[in-house]
Subunit: 180 residues, 2 copies
DNA sequence: ACTAACATGTAACCCGTTACATGATTAT
DNA sequence: ATAATCATGTAACGGGTTACATGTTAGT
């Protein structure tokens, strides 16, 4: 149960509703673990059933009411245990790489286009990462412990992203040598 | 249907049996898309049912007979079309990063251990990558078209791998500043 | 009235993993 | 005999995606 632990992690410091979790998963933790709102609601029910989350309805003015979830003591314990468990890490499955194995004169232009699009997407993401780092993680050594971990996740994202940009350039150069 | 296209890609140049596909998926394409033998056999049946693969039993001496699959004309067409289709790429889901969000004095030693293990695993993989590049992809510009695509996949693996190593070092340094 | 953002869910399907199951052949 | 490698599958389960479905509130 992987998503469950990601959700509990998001709830470590704040109580959040399903809607807020789905929205926040598009940034922060969501950079490394995205999930749809349907999946999140389902998982929230499962975690509540296990007694790992508490739920509480919150009245809002100007908005529909929401149900916020918080970690219970049991939930905190289960999460802490999970960190020590050995988890299988699967290599990323990227359609683009499989497509590249099919490179030929007909599709080279299309693949160059896909790479260009991915490059731009990554540029935007890196811009976001850079902004977050500047604002919150300027001096990692001075951060409180947990934030050091969050910083490291961000640092990996930045490194991999920058390397991906460099690869896109290499790839576009090499694709330019393919005769159509 | 993602795995199906990866399998067809593996069959672009050779006819292969399910067993051979499962084995080869541990190297080459499998660096970027791994699959269990069960899943492969299931997918082979589906692809055959669609008429995208032909099957043929091959008698072997000294080994049990095998069933080799090859791309049909329809299969080749479907694969070529797929390359042009837009596929959404999901960000890698890595438990280690979620765990890092849970960093505290209690688990810092464990997480440092996990990172060290991943680092060693990546070192081995990079060694393999380097060997493959040296043997088959020394001068990418001179490769035939399709091989250029395969090279690019390898090149990304190498770049990401090297960057991961550098990140592991950074992470271990920062984790060393956590007081236990 | 209509649209956008907020808010929560169910159902069907697809895909992947784990466990289970079988059998051939070669080497020790 | 028995272990290792080759070879092919089925069944149950878990998890994720897509499609479907409903309702509130604020702003135009």
């Amino acid at each position: 149960m992987a998503l469950g632990h990601a959700i509990m992690t998001a709830l470590l410091e704040d109580e959040l509703s399903g809607y807020e979790l789905a929205r926040d998963f598009e940034t922060s933790l969501g950079f490394f673990w995205q999930a749809s709102h349907q999946q999140i609601y389902l998982e929230l029910r499962k975690l509540s059933d296990k007694g790992w989350l508490s739920k509480r309805e919150v009245s809002q003015s100007g908005k529909p009411n929401k149900i916020v979830y918080g970690l219970t003591t049991d939930g905190r314990e289960a999460l802490a245990e999970w960190v020590f468990s050995t988890t299988r890490n699967q290599a990323a499955k990227d359609n683009l790489l499989v497509k590249l194995y099919n490179l030929d004169a007909d599709n080279v232009a299309h693949l160059a286009g896909e790479i260009t699009a991915r490059r731009e997407e990554m540029m935007r993401r890196l811009y976001l990462y850079a902004k977050i780092r500047r604002r919150h993680y300027e001096q990692p050594e001075t951060l409180p412990t947990r934030r050091k971990g969050v910083y490291l996740a961000l640092a990996l994202g930045i490194r991999q992203g920058e390397q991906f940009l460099a690869w896109c350039d290499e790839a576009l150069d090499l694709l330019a040598t393919v005769e159509t």
